[in-house]
C-alpha cells in the first residue's frame, strides 16, 4: 500500500472511530441462553442447527428437475421403500410419511425418506456417492418451497454434514417443516463463507412423494 493510500486510510480511521460500546446485558443473556439450549440439545441429539434459518432467498437460479431422470425418480422411490423395509432392525423406525424420488442422476443411488417417530418428523439421507469435500466445505440439506417465480424459492436448512470415514453417508435431521409445503429436498456442497443460504453446487435433488397420494407440491 502506498504512503498516500495509508494517509487517506488513516484520515478515514480518525474520522470514523469505532465507538467503545458493548452489547446490552439482556442481549448477552439471550445469547448465553441460546448457547445453553444448544448444548443441552447436543447432549441428546446429533449436531443439527438450533433453529433452521427460514430466510427467503431470491435471485438464485435453482435448476428444475430434469425430465430425463423421471424414470429414475420412480425407481428410486421403489428402491427407497425397499431399503427401509429390508432393514427391519434398523434404528430408523416409525411411520413413513414421504419418500424422496431422485430428480437428478446422482440422487438415483441415494435414499431419502421422512418418518414420524415418537411424534417427531425426521428426515434421513443415505448415500455412498457423496465424496469427501475439499477443506472448508461441507454438505447441507435444504427443504425448498418453490416460490412465485422460478428463481425465488423459500429455503430452510435441515442441517449440515460430512460423509463418514468409510465414505458412507447416513444422516438424520429433525424436519421442522411440513413436507407438503416444501416438496423439494436438495443437498448442496457449501463453502464455509458465512453465507447462511444455499450458495454452493447442487449435488442431489429429491422430489418428496407421499406414498399414499403421489407427488406433493409442484
Amino acid at each position: 500500500m502506498s504512503a498516500e493510500e495509508d494517509r487517506v486510510l488513516s484520515l478515514l480511521a480518525q474520522a470514523f472511530a469505532v465507538p467503545d460500546c458493548e452489547p446490552s446485558p439482556d442481549r448477552v443473556a439471550a445469547l448465553r441462553r441460546q448457547v445453553e439450549a444448544d448444548r443441552a440439545r447436543l447432549a441428546t441429539a446429533p449436531p443439527t442447527p438450533l433453529t433452521p434459518p427460514a430466510a427467503a432467498r431470491g435471485g438464485r437460479c435453482w435448476r428444475r428437475p430434469l425430465a430425463a431422470v423421471a424414470v429414475a425418480a420412480a425407481l428410486a422411490l421403489v428402491f427407497g421403500l425397499g431399503w427401509a423395509v429390508a432393514r427391519p432392525g434398523g434404528a430408523f423406525e416409525g411411520q413413513l410419511e414421504f419418500a424422496g424420488a431422485a430428480a437428478t442422476e446422482g440422487a438415483a443411488t441415494s435414499q431419502l425418506d421422512i418418518r414420524r417417530t415418537d411424534g417427531e418428523r425426521v428426515v434421513r439421507l443415505r448415500s455412498d456417492d457423496l465424496g469427501e469435500l475439499p477443506h472448508g466445505q461441507f454438505y447441507e440439506m435444504w427443504f425448498v418451497r418453490p416460490g412465485p417465480a422460478p428463481g425465488d424459492p423459500a429455503v430452510v436448512s435441515a442441517g449440515t454434514f460430512q460423509p463418514g470415514a468409510s465414505g458412507r453417508t447416513d444422516v438424520r435431521f429433525p424436519a421442522g417443516i411440513d413436507p407438503a409445503d416444501f416438496p423439494l429436498v436438495l443437498v448442496t456442497a457449501e463453502l464455509s463463507d458465512g453465507d447462511p443460504g444455499p450458495g454452493g453446487a447442487e449435488v442431489l435433488r429429491f422430489d418428496l412423494l407421499d406414498p399414499a397420494h403421489g407427488t406433493v407440491g409442484a
Binding site: L9, L11, Q14, V18, E22, P196
Partner: protein, 193 residues
Amino acid sequence: MIDIDPTSGGEPPLVEGALQRDPDAWEAIYRSAYPRLFSYARSRLADDGEAEDAVSETMARALQRIDAFRSEGVAVDGWLFGILRNIIFETHRKRSRPLPPAAAFEAGSPDLGAQDPLARTLAGEQAAAVHRAFALLSPNDREILELRVLGGLSSDEVAAVVGKRPGAVRMAQARALERLRDALAAVEAGDER
C-alpha cells in the same frame, strides 16, 4: 481484534470453547466483536435498534453454524462479518429499500478526547470533511472501506466477506481510496457535486 484465527496453529481456546457451546466463550466473542459489528451494521441500517438486532441475529446464526466453522480456514471476525453482511442484505430486501446513503459511521465519531480545543475543532472539521467526501463514493467503494476501517478486517478478510479474490479487493480498495482522496480535495475546495 480477537486473536482466535483457527489457521494460526492449534485450536484457539475461544473457538474450542465455542464449539463446546461454552457460554463464556460465546460471550467473549460477542463482546470482543460487538463494537465493530455494530458500527458496520449501524452504518448500513436505519437506526441503532436495527443494528443491534442484526448483530444479535449474527451471533444466533453463528451458533447454528459453528460446527461448519471448524474446517473453515478463515478468522472468526471475517466469518461473523460475512454473516452480518447477509443479514443486512436480507433486511433491505424485506423492506425493498436500498442501502441508505452514507449516513455511514454516524455511530462513530472522531477520538478527540485527549486534544486541546483548537486541535479538537480542527480535527472535527477534518472529520466532517471526510464524512462528506465519503458520502460521495459509490456503495461498493463505501462497503470495502467500511469493512476495512470499521470492521478492522484485512484485505484478505474483506475478500472472503464480499466473495472476491484478494487481489481484486486490494485493487478496488486502492481505487476507492483514490476516489476518496479526490472527493476530499473537492470538499475542501468547496467544489462538491
